[in-house]
């Protein structure tokens, strides 16, 4: 059921993305409504697939890399809609939607094992997972804003504008997006990490504090805390902050996906749930 819904969502995403291409090429001020409708319908089906799976598993449908990415992709699409409606930045689509498509495709191709784990039904863990995911979505937008800022900044410095100069929003808008997404992401990541600690302290027995994923998450958190405090003091991002935001997102991706393959405690491999 959820697999069929996910494929449906994927097809709609694809249609929506294809429909945005001509309007982006032609510098239309807004995305065509057909494209937004397709993406919106994709979002609804994607959400339904997550709900269907959640009902099936009786818990948050995040159990392996695929399902985690599917959940993440759903949140990114949602964030795209909110950001687009708020800022009307067309090019956000260029940055955000292809990722959504790839992630959804990946999770649709390999639905992954569905194992049952009583551990994952814990309320702490659900808050842990969803908070961290929301934090990741915020930081993804921070990353996009930083990339747009850097490109537009170099266009303005070069004094010889190329196409991207006309496409991209003003530095001011990039900064707004950058700061707001930071303000959104950081509290969620903080809550996510704290609830993780609480849950781990109650449940795990062993030296979990040295788990690579936990260490990487702390590094990620420190990077974003630094960026946040720098921006909070009123200092504009400038190139350095933008580079750090990109670095932060790279570390985040490693934390999110990469380390899961080496981490014992956090592996998506069903160590906790004992594979069926």
């Amino acid at each position: 059921m959820y697999s069929a819904l996910l494929w449906l969502a994927l097809i709609l995403y694809f249609v929506g993305i294809v429909l945005t291409v001509p309007s982006l090429m032609k510098h239309r001020p807004s995305l065509p409504s057909a494209s937004l409708a397709a993406l919106g319908a994709g979002l609804v089906f994607h959400g339904s697939s997550l709900v269907a799976r959640a009902i099936n598993l009786h818990r948050l449908p995040v159990i392996d890399v695929q399902s985690a990415l599917s959940f993440f992709a759903f949140l990114v699409t949602l964030a795209f809609f909110l950001a687009y409606l708020r800022y009307r930045i067309n090019v956000l689509g260029i940055f955000m939607l292809p990722l959504v498509f790839v992630l959804t495709l990946f999770s649709a191709l390999r639905p992954g094992p569905s194992f049952q784990s009583t551990a994952f039904r814990s309320g702490w863990l659900m808050i842990h997972i969803s908070s961290i995911m929301l934090g990741y979505v915020g930081f993804f937008i921070t990353f996009v804003a930083a990339v747009m800022f850097l490109i537009q900044e170099s266009q303005l410095k070069s004094k010889n504008p190329q196409r991207t100069y006309y496409w991209l929003p003003s530095l001011e808008l990039c900064d707004q997006l950058y700061f707001r997404s930071l303000k959104f992401g950081l509290p969620f990541l903080t809550v996510g990490i704290l609830t993780g600690f609480v849950w781990a302290a109650r449940t795990w027995h062993g030296p979990w504090e040295l788990d690579p994923k936990i260490l990487a998450a702390l590094v990620t958190w420190l990077i974003y805390l630094f960026l946040f405090s720098a921006r909070l003091s009123g200092t504009w991002p400038g190139r350095l902050s933008a580079y750090v935001a990109i670095l932060g997102f790279a570390v985040l991706m490693v934390t999110f996906v990469g380390i899961s393959f080496v981490s014992g405690w956090h592996g998506y491999l069903p160590r906790l749930g004992r594979a069926p």
Partner: protein
């Protein structure tokens, strides 16, 4: 529709020829009236700007409009048009419509995307309309041309980027600060150029204006004009950090703003960006300031370079505009052509229906009393024959829509079936 356009523009004719051929706005109405009162001409439209003169006429069938237009131009300007022959171009039917749509959409302009042409075409339209020169097809085409121009403007960014140096500065400011509302501008040196630049920025919503000048009186004068504040030149460096945008055009033969100045200001501004526009020659702002994070320095050449890039951008947009125009020309031709065949088809059907009814009437006596079923059968039979006969000519007429041979086809069909024009 029997449409022709004769014209000259900035590409085909030098300014001496264009001014010789131009028709001032005050005489436009009278000129159009003269045009349509000539033999065979039904409708006319004249567009005369400093870069072009275009005369369009819709003539009765069988009349070639071009010689009449040429004769009109020769009479109007009292000259021998043969002297200027090489500068004129002419278009018929579809090409004439396409040309008008392109002109209206500013694709044929010297600066692609310039907005004035639309207003000029509106004036031309009003003049022709008031002269009673737009009564049918050409009226519709002219209105469509205005609509197409608006559509192009709405759906492409053809007129979006600045093609003058002073507007390029405003646009760059917008790419840095987004909205200019509430931004502070420091005008350094109260020359003409800085005045223009400041005026454009104010018009775009910029807030506070500070003016500093070597002679304080002139600064006060300019500050008053902008509802701004004058600053003494000695105190100028203390005020710069408040400014988001600095426009510099002093007569100083050396740099006034150095890298170390800008470093201090940016630090005091917590790195909020500063945009320096240096329109003075020799330059007053050290170009090394541009190397600082969040400081952007544009001198007069840089602005020129941006204008060039903007022109290229407009040309890229023109490709999409051409696409829209092709679609619109296609649509216009379809609409015009199908409208031309509708009366013929209706007349044809009526003609045959009359024949059928008359013949039935004649044979009523010989057929005798018919049962209702038999009467229906006779009706069906005669109708069937008519429809079979009509099928060929109507299909042929419809397939001729938009093709050059259409009007001869229409008159052929009319002749063959004895339907009057």
């Amino acid at each position: 529709m029997n449409l022709a356009l004769v014209g000259i523009n900035h590409r085909t004719a030098p300014v001496e020829v264009r001014e010789r051929m131009s028709i001032p706005e005050s005489r436009l109405q009278e000129a159009v009236a003269d045009l349509i009162h000539r033999e065979g001409i039904k409708e006319g439209l004249i567009l005369s700007t400093c870069n072009r003169v275009e005369v369009i006429a819709n003539a009765r069938d069988g009349v070639a409009p071009e010689p009449v237009i040429r004769e009109f131009l020769a009479d109007h300007h009292q000259c021998n048009l043969a002297l200027y022959e090489s500068h004129f171009y002419q278009h018929r039917q579809r090409e004439a419509i396409e040309h008008l749509f392109r002109v209206a959409s500013s694709l044929d302009s010297m600066i692609v995307g310039e907005p004035q042409i639309l207003g000029q075409l509106k004036q031309a339209y009003t003049a022709a309309r008031e002269a009673g020169a737009l009564t049918g097809t050409l009226n519709e085409i002219s209105l469509q041309a205005l609509a197409v121009a608006r559509k192009v403007r709405r759906n492409t960014a053809i007129g979006a980027s600045a093609v003058s140096v002073s507007y390029a500065a405003v646009e760059l400011a917008r790419k840095i600060f987004g909205d200019l509302t509430g931004k502070t501008i420091l005008v350094l040196g109260a020359g003409k150029m800085s005045e223009i630049a400041a005026r454009n920025l104010i018009r775009s919503g910029a807030g506070t204006i500070l003016v500093a000048n070597r002679t304080y009186e002139r600064a006060v004068e300019l500050a008053q004009a902008f509802h701004g504040k004058a600053i003494r030149i000695e105190q100028m460096l203390d005020h710069v950090e408040k400014a988001d945008i600095v426009i510099c055009s002093t007569a100083a033969p050396h740099y006034v703003i150095h890298r170390h100045h800008a470093e201090q200001w940016l630090a005091a501004r917590k790195n909020r960006p500063m945009f320096f526009v240096d329109i003075s020659v020799p330059r007053n702002i050290d170009p090394a300031v541009n190397e600082l994070d969040n400081a952007f320095v544009y001198d007069i050449d840089d602005l020129g370079q941006v204008v060039e890039a903007n022109k290229k951008q407009r040309e890229r947009e023109a490709i999409w505009a051409e696409e829209i125009i092709q679609q619109e020309v296609q649509k216009a031709m379809k609409r015009l052509a199908s409208r031309e065949i509708v009366p013929t088809i209706v007349a044809l059907e009526q003609r045959l229906e009359t024949i059928r009814e008359n013949e039935l009437e004649r044979f009523r006596g010989r057929l005798g009393d018919l049962t209702p079923q038999q009467r229906d059968a006779v009706d069906a039979l005669t109708h069937g024959i008519l429809n079979k006969i009509l099928h060929g000519p109507i299909t042929e007429l419809k397939s001729g829509v938009g093709r050059p041979e259409q009007s001869s086809l229409v008159s052929l069909v009319r002749k063959m079936f004895g339907v009057a024009e």
